[in-house]
Symmetry: C2
Subunit: 494 residues, 2 copies
């Protein structure tokens, strides 16, 4: 065996520190302390060691550098003398000096987008821009009550997971997701959504956004370039399908849900639908329409069922997922974004058999599979009943806020028509008044209230409106936010 540069017996030879890549070979002979002091001071003033950060223990650094501990102690003492660091006994040596700000650079890409936020045809970064906009009251739709996130249950489950999980489970895993979550999901979907599936047929993804990207890639791979979408329908969904290279012809939605006749007329081979609670109108797909849509699918169409908030219902019976009836024709997508928190970025796809291999391959190349620990924690919450308990808590809170918002709308927007009150996390209002809803939303934001103009979620013209989230807001905020909108509307229409 030929090896030239390695001697395993020589284990104590210092090989320099990771810390700042300090290497005493660079020190002028006899001036190691000066050199070390200078390197540390430079690192502090340049900001490589930020204020509040901790220097390594003197013993550790001395060992790494192969110098006597006195050299390091003396360097730290000098830095303390000129105020760069301060000794804190057992807490170690802490950097005190503030860094010199780095030279201002021009960053053309971070220049604020000059287009108005509330354009009728917003750009793909519109939700980032809306999120960054400051507002006292955020009535953007799409999030549950995040203050109710079950932190204690999550931590308990995480402890159990960290105790139970084998070391090998921390390596690279199945791109479809952990068997534990896929199993827990088959039970969850059977119990709550009527879907019969097997763990090996579930694909765990990083939220519905990723589901749409993977499904888009699989469709493109099959030379399908069109997915019809509901209109009104989610702008975000449309952006994701656009990005995947898919055309998205609009299909009108009325009080019975999406029009299957109009869908047929588009000639599209696939449709994205929200049958349990249409976004943003809140309509439930009617019985006859449901049968029509299934017939369309049986004749060769693919339904992408975005079951985004089916769990949140107040005054109506649960509606089983379309995928429970036509599992071979429906590609079902769900997530925990509305159940627990969007920040978890966890969702799932249950696809017809013929679509699965392409979806798994797309997921593999996307990220090799979603992170393991959060999957195991979620599986734990599903199996322990904690998730169902959480959902019950949420439902009570959301219902009260929904009632508050309806009451506030009755007071402050008496002419508005309210849609979708029986379920969900938001209300959609349409307005008889001759206003432009993007202008109304812009004016509301100037007064500190965020909401979506309905126009964002439309492709075809229709009455102006707003989409107003209530689930995450206090009663006070809801009343005040709606009052601001009401006052603006009065001004506009006076």
């Amino acid at each position: 065996m030929n090896r030239s540069n390695h001697d395993p017996s020589d284990r104590s030879k210092p090989v320099g520190a990771d810390f700042l890549h300090l290497d005493p070979a660079h020190a002028p002979p006899g001036h190691t302390t000066d050199w070390l002091t200078d390197r540390l001071r430079t690192a502090i003033t340049h900001g490589d060691l930020p204020r509040g950060s901790r220097l390594p223990p003197t013993r550790t650094l001395a060992t790494d550098l192969g110098v006597s501990r006195g050299v390091v102690t003396e360097a730290y003492r000098r830095l303390a003398e000129d105020g760069h660091v301060r000794g804190h006994g057992r807490a170690g040596t802490i950097v005190m000096a503030t860094m010199t700000p780095p030279p201002a650079r021009t960053h053309p890409h971070t220049r604020p987008d000059p287009s108005p936020l509330f354009s009728p045809h917003p750009r793909p970064d519109v939700f980032d821009r809306l999120r960054q906009a400051r507002a006292r009251i955020d009535l953007s739709p799409g999030v549950p009550d995040l203050a109710a996130f079950p932190r204690a249950a999550w931590l308990r489950a995480e402890r159990a997971v960290l105790t139970d999980t084998s070391a090998s489970a921390l390596g690279y895993g199945d791109p479809r997701g952990t068997p534990q979550l896929r199993t827990a999901l088959t039970h969850w979907l059977a119990r709550t959504r009527g879907i019969r599936t097997r763990p090996e047929d579930v694909l765990i993804v990083s939220g519905t956004a990723q589901a749409l990207g993977l499904i888009g890639a699989a469709l493109r791979h099959q030379h399908i370039d069109t997915v019809a979408v509901e209109d009104p329908g989610s702008l975000g969904v449309r952006h994701h399908l656009d990005h995947a290279g898919l055309r998205t012809p609009p299909v009108p939605v009325d009080e019975d849900g999406v029009s299957v006749d109009a869908l047929r007329a588009t000639g599209a081979e696939a449709v994205l639908a929200t049958p349990a609670h249409q976004f943003p109108t809140g309509v439930v797909l009617g019985g006859r329409r449901r049968r029509d849509l299934i017939r369309w699918a049986m004749e060769g169409g693919l339904v992408i069922e975005d079951d985004y908030d089916a769990e949140h219902r107040y005054d109506r019976h649960p509606v089983p997922a379309l995928a429970s009836v036509a599992p071979d024709r429906v590609c079902y997508a769900g997530s925990v974004s509305k159940l627990l928190a969007p920040a978890l970025r966890l969702g799932w796809i249950v696809a017809p058999p013929r679509w699965r291999p392409a979806l798994v391959e797309a997921k593999r190349f996307n990220d090799l599979g979603s992170a393991t620990l959060p999957q195991l924690v979620l599986a734990h919450l599903m199996a322990s009943g904690d998730l169902e308990r959480h959902l019950r808590t949420l439902r009570g809170r959301h219902r009260r806020r929904r009632d508050t918002m309806i009451d506030a709308l009755r007071t402050h927007l008496p002419g508005a028509r309210v849609h979708g009150a029986a379920a969900g996390l938001h209300l959609t209002v349409t307005l008889e008044a001759p206003v432009t809803d993007t202008d109304l939303a812009a004016a509301a934001l100037e007064r500190g209230v965020k909401a979506h103009p309905l126009t964002w979620h439309r492709q075809r013209p229709g009455p102006p409106g707003l989409v107003l989230g209530y689930a995450g807001r206090t009663d006070t905020d809801i009343r005040e936010g709606v009052a601001v909108v009401g006052a603006l509307l009065d001004q506009h229409t006076r």
Copy 2:
């Protein structure tokens, strides 16, 4: 305001249970108990309620269904009598019956791939197939010692995060990642890799696999369709670039690293390089080559620096990242896969300014940003010093195992040449013997030992070899695994 289907005063009207979508309106009048018993029994025998799952408390289910509690109690009693469930006092009512297995379905897509696993040109799912293959001893490269994962520190940090995090941080976030992790990373990269950057210039991604996909998309967007790669070089990296639609011409690697003259000759506008510890040879890019590569980049080339395991070094000084020298020409990618665990799926890109907008957009459409909680936990571990402590622990363990493997190779493969021993998580051996390394790896797997044939990581012909991971294996496994390979090689060459 027009509303037809909602009366907020009527809050107590039962609206059916999520649980199995039970709705007593479907019960024949006067036979609610029979109906409920039957529905539950069917759900148990069909597997919708798996063995060990818990029925809802009688009071809860009775309230949801709007029936008297006696109805539910009686249904549970009947199920207990015929053995479907068992009462466990305060633990509730547990399903006992095993489910009838679902009818066997043919799943053409799950049919095992008939191609041999150890083909010289493996398919994209090769690592999934290798992972699924059973073996006593797994010497696949690419994972650190997962048994050393700092579970206690992780849980401590998670508790702190769950205590400190605001509710709004659990909503949708910045697609670039949390400010906390991006800030912690700027400090980490400055201290350990010599890279000066700002939080707003860091993009958090779901591991290097996703980084490659995003970079590939950004390159394609700029009409760049070729990324030269090192040869030997990572098969996985090549698969990901291929999938992004990029050609990957090979550039030879010698004892000084990748040949910049050969890179120039390819005409490629971008190269993927592993300067700190070339995969799989373990070579460090030499000083002159480093300058040549930077010059090539300054003349218009883009270097994608895959800094996959720079932190693991034993007998040599740290090498600053190439990105620290030429930040405007190097797109730097790192991850925690080799530092903590691949299962975390967390990594980062620090890109030259001109590439950032396209990368952020690709990330947004990929998954709207990586999950928040693990990012915050990692930021905590970086800021607290726990990550550095962990790395120190790992380094000691890995070095001992590295020494064990070198010793075992000296004993059992005396004719092998060992590469890259000064750093990393694996050794590459090249063999003088006239063997086909894919056959050798296949034979080793039959004897219960997994390793990568070097051919997988080559595009051009070269001496046969194996890539052998040691970081996650015990001394006993390492010795035994190497002995198996040695015995096979003796047979082959006798």
